[in-house]
């Protein structure tokens, strides 16, 4: 605990008639204003403009967007592309987030044990999370390159036919999911580890005394103890999975055909490849709405089961 060097006032401030918080109101506004203003200008304003754009047709070169009402919405929601993209998004998110959380949980349990070299492993596993997504995608493209890529060499060594992983309609999505898992597992594991270290030892001791075996200790002590962390991780992982872009862009370009096109990629594709700002805006609004809905649902339903103090 720090000792504070603060000059003592000679008089005590008398309580005022106005409510306690009104004195703080000015400070409150001063403290949050820069951040709120920045977020309004550079995050929310674009989102509002985006919503408006979804009701227009615009190729971004013409001077003015053309108002077309709900046409974009009807077109998008009735197109086969949209449902493919939506399905891809769900597969991608569930696959990458689900598997990552499971592996990272197991890894964190490992890292929690006092083993030689665990700090090295911990640091090494965290490292991919801080590398630029495009660099990682580049590295994996290199590793997955047919013939001379390490993975391809290993696969053919095991007798598999030579596959162009990123260009294969079956393998493209698993490949992309794999890279994302590789990138984020260490990060999740470190967060789980922090959570594990926050669980009081006495609880484990008590359970041991009560005769609980390892599995029962896991279920009754670890799992509830980790629930706030797991919740935090699930929410943030899902949000970032919905916005995961660089890996897909560098590795597969959304292909082959639409095999790895997720909602965020479709937004990019419609805007920067198709030059159709209105349709891109429609997809972006749907994406935003989906993220909002999922987060709200998570907060409502799951947080009830998260045990806090």
């Amino acid at each position: 605990m720090q000792s504070i060097q603060v000059p003592r006032p000679t008089t005590v401030a008398s309580p005022s008639a106005t409510p306690a918080w009104s004195r703080d109101l000015l400070i409150f506004i001063a403290f949050i204003a820069p951040n709120v203003v920045t977020l309004c200008v550079f995050s929310y304003w674009p989102m509002i403009r985006n919503l408006w754009l979804s009701f227009t047709y615009w190729d971004m070169i013409a001077p003015e967007p053309l108002w077309i009402g709900l046409d974009n919405w009807v077109e998008v929601l009735t197109s086969a592309t949209f449902w493919t993209v939506l399905r891809n998004t769900l597969v991608f998110t569930v696959g990458s987030v689900g598997i990552t959380i499971m592996i990272s949980l197991a890894l964190s349990l490992l890292l929690n044990q006092k083993r030689v070299g665990r700090n090295l492993v911990r640091a090494a596993m965290f490292a991919p999370a801080i590398l630029p997504g495009s660099a990682i995608a580049l590295v994996w493209t290199f590793l997955l390159a047919p013939y001379y890529g390490l993975i391809s060499q290993a696969a053919t060594g095991l007798g598999m036919p030579m596959t162009r992983w990123q260009n294969d309609p079956v393998w493209a999505m698993p490949t992309v999911i794999l890279v994302v898992i590789w990138k984020t597992t260490g990060y999740d594991a470190v967060i789980f580890l922090a959570g594990l270290q926050g669980i009081p030892r006495e609880l484990y001791e008590a359970a041991r005394v009560d005769g609980a075996n390892a599995w029962q200790r896991f279920v009754n002590v670890t799992v509830p103890g980790l629930s706030p962390v797991a919740f935090f991780l699930t929410v943030t992982s899902i949000l970032s999975s919905f916005q995961a872009f660089d890996v897909i862009r560098v590795m597969t370009g959304g292909g082959p055909v639409f095999a790895t096109t997720t909602l965020i990629y479709q937004v990019y594709s419609e805007a920067f490849v198709g030059f159709n700002a209105g349709r891109a805006a429609t997809y972006a609004t749907i994406l935003f709405g989906l993220m909002l809905a999922i987060t709200v649902v998570q907060i409502r339903m799951v947080e009830k089961r998260v045990t806090y103090e």
């Binding site: 070169i61 309609p169 292909g255 639409f258 159709n276």
Partner: protein, 442 residues
């Protein structure tokens, strides 16, 4: 650092101040464009956006440097913006933000969009003032950019697709040292012989990269077309479907593989044959040095005979420039497309010179004698046709076609279904273009 000590706080402040200083001096308010007033003293400064990277990029920078060194009145600043597509994106955004450059490289599928929106200006008066010998440009290449009797760009880095083959593999298979004359000959004779002679991991043909451009040639070879000049989409017609079936069967029959980067496959000797731009020639020759001999030839003929598109990019002047900058831009473009520069540009990149004088020059002829592969595109040029409107005039047409081809090659879907859907999408996308053309009176 410990912010609580005076030293710590001071060094933190110092670092922060340095950061701010870098922020202040790193700024650049005017990066060229319409709003800047004409400078009356010193050389005219121009901003030129290019789309050539790596080895091609170095040559592009050389051209700009040579121009700057050759005279004192104009200075061109070259800024690389990525691929043709990325540059088009940047340009679109820049136009909105009034940050556009003075000149830009625009490829076959991008320049028209900017023309329709009046973002690029006609160059005829400027060419006359600069005394540009318009008759000396290769007619087909020059005329591509003419709309309503006016020129909106000049060809700069032009190409045709070539049939590349691995001479060593051909020798091994007992094949003549030339490209196949027809697809029939290739499928019935060349392919089986190659298959028998090459490594199991190698394959006969790699299909990938700019697929809609390559297939433009193929669909013509089968007597079909993407569209007619009135924007009627014709690729779903029987001849077009036949070409699509040929593509699909090539994978099924096993002599072709669908890949992401066909030049890479060829360079690594995985693919024995590819069809790719003549602009890739220098890169391929470099990679193959010491490994294998590279041969090039015309595109094989189909049942309906020969078919080959042109491709590549030209340079345009953005609209709204001050008169001084317009003239200066024309000066640079005239230089970049002059016979001397084009001859050297072509030799270093593989693109075709766009000037008749350059092609006929002794320098070029001598070069071709020692590097016969460079001749192929030139010999093929007179037999090329201007691309169908569906690919070059419809916004995003190239991508729509490419996705359709992917479905046929990778997913093995039926061409009749796929092409019909693609035709429907193209028809819809073409509507705004047809409207805009009417408005322009074109």
């Amino acid at each position: 650092m410990n912010l609580r000590t005076r030293r710590g706080a001071l060094s933190a402040a110092g670092l922060f101040g340095t950061g701010l200083a870098l922020a202040a001096c790193g700024g650049d308010a005017a990066s060229g464009g319409a709003a800047a007033p004409a400078a009356s003293s010193g050389p005219v400064k121009l901003v030129y956006w290019g789309a050539f990277a790596a080895n091609l990029g170095k040559v592009q920078e050389e051209v700009v440097k040579q121009f700057n060194d050759s005279q004192k009145t104009v200075t061109v600043e070259h800024q690389f913006q990525g691929s043709y597509e990325e540059l088009a994106n940047k340009l679109t955004a820049a136009l909105q933000a009034k940050q556009a450059p003075d000149m830009a490289v625009l490829s076959d599928v991008w320049w028209y969009k900017f023309y329709l929106n009046k973002a690029i200006q006609p160059m005829d008066d400027l060419m006359k003032a600069e005394k540009v010998d318009t008759k000396d440009y290769v007619d087909s290449l020059f005329n591509e950019y003419v709309q309503g009797g006016k020129s909106y760009a000049l060809p700069f880095a032009r190409s045709t697709p070539l049939f590349y083959y691995n001479k060593d593999a051909y020798k091994k298979a007992g094949l003549p040292d030339r490209a196949p004359k027809t697809w029939d000959e290739f499928v019935k004779d060349f392919a089986p012989k190659l298959k028998g002679a090459i490594d199991p991991k190698q394959f006969v043909f790699a299909n990938g990269g700019y697929s809609a451009w390559i297939f433009q040639g193929v669909i013509w070879q089968f007597g079909g077309a993407y569209s007619d000049k009135d924007f009627k989409m014709t690729l779903g017609e029987p001849k077009g479907v036949q070409a699509g079936e040929f593509y699909r069967d090539s994978i099924k029959a096993g002599w072709s593989q669908s890949v992401k980067n066909d030049t890479d496959e060829f360079k690594q000797m995985n693919a024995v044959n590819i069809i790719n731009s003549t602009g890739s020639l220098v890169g391929i020759l470099d990679a193959a040095k010491g490994k294998f001999e590279v041969g090039t030839g015309f595109l094989p003929e189909g049942p309906a005979g020969f078919g080959c598109p042109t491709g590549g990019a030209g340079v345009a002047i953005l609209s709204g420039l001050a008169k001084e900058k317009q003239a200066a831009s024309m000066q640079y473009i005239a230089f970049a497309t002059s016979p001397k520069v084009q001859a050297s540009w072509s030799q270093q990149t593989g693109y075709m010179p766009v000037r008749k004088t350059a092609i006929d020059s002794k320098e070029m002829q001598d070069f071709i004698k020692t590097n016969p592969n460079f001749k192929t595109a030139l010999d093929q040029l007179p037999k090329t046709k201007f691309q169908d409107s569906a690919r070059v005039f419809v916004p995003n047409g190239d991508q729509i076609l490419a996705k359709g081809l992917e479905r046929i090659l990778v997913n093995q879907e039926a061409p009749s279904t796929v092409f019909k859907e693609v035709a429907d999408t193209l028809t819809k996308e073409a509507e705004p273009v047809i409207k805009a053309r009417k408005a322009l009176g074109a």
